[in-house]
């Protein structure tokens, strides 16, 4: 049994009718680390989270949280996990404070502990000013923070966040990243799903890319970028004519491509430092002065594009709103 891992998943299969939502997934998350589960719409991210949080039974395979089986020991698992689902699950009619106290009570903490913990979380998640207003008056970002606070009320050692920042503006997103970063530095093990490569890049120690229920790649953000992305030296020219001439010359260094209205030449390289010198020397020798030059590191978007042959959200489905509700 793998108590060495906070989360251990082996051969997990789930089908919904004809749809194979998960086909034999294996994942191991060491204690105190962050796993980013990355995938486009319908990849199976939520399905995996729902199985790991005891909400759904797998058709085959095994999943253990801190060594406890999600199917056979659901209550023990529930006591050790926190979940903030894809849609913020807060009671619209209760105030922020009432929401947290209710969850505190339901996780069977003494009333005084629940109250103290509520105050602490309201403070930490910047909700004190809105603590006594019904949650239906909250903005999307506030609702997400409340939902996350509710997931943390019983100090779970393992946390699941399903697309925690979908639908948030850039400021709220980066605020939430800050909060999640703090949690993780407290030693919490985190499994996070996301469609945002930047998010996985920023928060996750290890990234698992899934598509159509299968793991198609995994590694650290740097790994993935090194293996699959490629560094580009981008050289911009004042005219398209010069850019075209330069592109022919620079092909000697690496594969080139023209962009930006054919005024910019991108050269694919592996060692960007050396390549930069080569580019400069070559351009000098043929007397072609560039307007500007830059090195562009590969992004996870490039990785994703290469792996799945499409962008992260190239589905016809729209990104879903952060909350669904019966308003």
């Amino acid at each position: 049994m793998s108590t060495n891992y906070a989360i251990h998943v082996e051969g997990l299969v789930k089908r919904f009718g004809d749809v194979l939502a998960l086909s034999a997934i294996d994942i191991d998350v060491p204690h105190g680390t962050v796993l980013g589960l990355l995938g486009p719409n319908g990849a199976g991210k939520t399905t995996a989270v729902r199985i790991l949080t005891t909400l759904l039974e797998p058709d085959a395979g095994e999943a253990r949280i801190l060594g406890m089986d999600v199917v056979r020991q659901p209550n023990a698992v529930r006591a050790s996990i926190g979940l903030a689902g894809q849609y913020a699950a807060v009671d619209e009619n209760l105030t922020g404070r009432e929401n947290l106290r209710m969850v505190g009570q339901l996780t069977r903490q003494p009333a005084s502990t629940a109250r103290a913990r509520t105050d602490e979380l309201l403070e930490r998640f910047d909700l004190v000013h809105a603590a006594d207003r019904p949650a239906k008056t909250y903005s999307g970002g506030m609702r997400r923070r409340l939902d996350l606070a509710a997931a943390l009320i019983h100090r779970p050692p393992v946390l699941f966040l399903d697309e925690p920042t979908t639908g948030l503006d850039p400021k709220s997103r980066s605020d939430l990243w800050g909060l999640i970063g703090e949690l993780v530095s407290d030693g919490t093990t985190l499994l996070l799903t996301t469609q945002y490569l930047e998010e996985a890049d920023r928060l996750a120690d290890h990234i698992v890319v899934i598509d159509e229920g299968r793991i198609i790649e995994e590694g650290s953000a740097t790994d993935l970028k090194e293996r699959l992305g490629r560094t580009l030296v981008e050289v911009k020219f004042p005219t398209t004519r010069r850019a075209r001439i330069a592109a022919r010359q620079l092909a000697a260094i690496g594969p080139t491509e023209l962009s930006d209205g054919d005024t910019t030449v991108g050269v694919g390289v592996t060692d960007s430092g050396k390549a930069l010198l080569d580019v400069v020397r070559l351009l000098e020798s043929v007397d072609l002065a560039p307007k500007s030059m830059a090195v562009r590191q590969p992004t996870l978007d490039d990785v994703f594009l290469q792996l799945t042959g499409r962008g992260p959200s190239a589905d016809d489905e729209q990104p879903e709103p952060a909350t669904r509700g019966a308003a």
Binding site: R50, T53, T54, L55, L56, L66, M68, D69, R72, Q73, P74, N75, A76, R78, A79, S80, I81, L83, G85, Q86, Y87, A88, A89, V90, D91, E92, N93, L94, E98, M102, V103, Q105, L106, T107, R108, P134, A150, H154, R155, P157, E182, S185, D186, G187, R324, G325, A326
Partner: protein
């Protein structure tokens, strides 16, 4: 930021943590409390629980009261039992709609991910709706007294009538809980339950004597739970033979509760 000590988790080996029996009660009460707060904060449920029952009492009393004659008793006294049962029956729709909304909002998922008693969400909802029914009945009794309604029996019988009404409300709440969980959508739950409730309430002895109804309708009206409960409540407040009627009403109430509580709990466990 100071490091927070993680709580010591019980080492359960290969067994599961047991939810203590006391938690079954305390979890249900915590959920009931949240539902009652919700009831008081949503304007539509406040209106449904206060203004509407009062309007019904006054309307039936003064609009139809003159036109409808029932032999032997004043129409107000005949009517009140019917309005009570109608109100708790339609009120039970609240249970289904509330649960459907909780499913839609994802709250049920949150509850299911917590180490709480499985029964608490449904029990809490039903308890809250029973409390609400008790309040509504009290309000209608007061308004009824003001417009001429009188109890012809004693305090004990009247208390029995109120208890029966509350239990009957709980029974119908379980039917609605099942519909709410099955549809998982507030509008659909409402659309599915309204016609059903109407067939129970209007084809019954609630407002008129079933004796005036045509053959097949009369047979149905005489053998359905709303009529049974109306007749029992009526006997409890107006007098006359009571025991048999109360027994019939209780059989319906308990039967419905057992069947639909079982179905609802099963549906809740599988809720997605």
């Amino acid at each position: 930021m100071t490091a927070i000590a993680l709580p010591a988790l019980p080492d359960v080996g290969e067994g599961d943590v047991r939810i203590p029996p006391s938690a079954v009660v305390s979890d249900a009460l915590a959920v009931a409390k949240r539902n009652l707060i919700g009831l008081m904060r949503v304007p539509t449920t406040v209106v449904f629980s206060t203004v509407q029952p009062v309007i019904f009492v006054l309307m039936f009393r003064y609009v139809f009261g003159g036109a409808i004659r029932v032999p032997g008793v004043s129409y107000v006294d005949f009517l009140m039992a019917g309005i009570f049962v109608q109100t708790v029956t339609f009120g039970s729709m609240n249970t289904g709609v509330g649960l459907a909304m909780d499913m839609q909002s994802g709250l049920i998922e949150r509850f299911r991910s917590l180490p709480m008693a499985r029964s608490a969400v449904l029990a809490g909802r039903t308890i809250a709706d029973a409390v609400r029914n008790l309040f509504v009945i009290a309000l209608m009794v007061l308004v009824g007294f003001a417009v001429g309604f009188r109890v012809h029996t004693g305090v004990l019988e009247f208390g029995g009538a109120v208890l029966l009404l509350v239990l009957f409300g709980v029974a119908f709440s379980w039917i609605m809980a099942y519909i709410g969980l099955s549809t998982g959508n507030a509008e659909a739950a409402q659309a599915a339950s309204f016609p059903l409730m109407a067939v129970f309430v209007f084809a019954s002895s609630a407002f008129v004597s079933t004796a005036t109804m045509p053959g097949p309708l009369r047979v149905y009206a005489n053998h359905q739970p709303v009529t049974a409960t109306v007749n029992a409540v009526r006997a409890l407040v107006l007098g006359g033979p009571t025991a048999g009627k109360v027994l019939t009403a209780l059989v319906w109430t308990v039967g419905i509760t057992i069947v639909f509580a079982f179905l609802s709990v099963r549906r809740y466990r599988r809720a997605v």
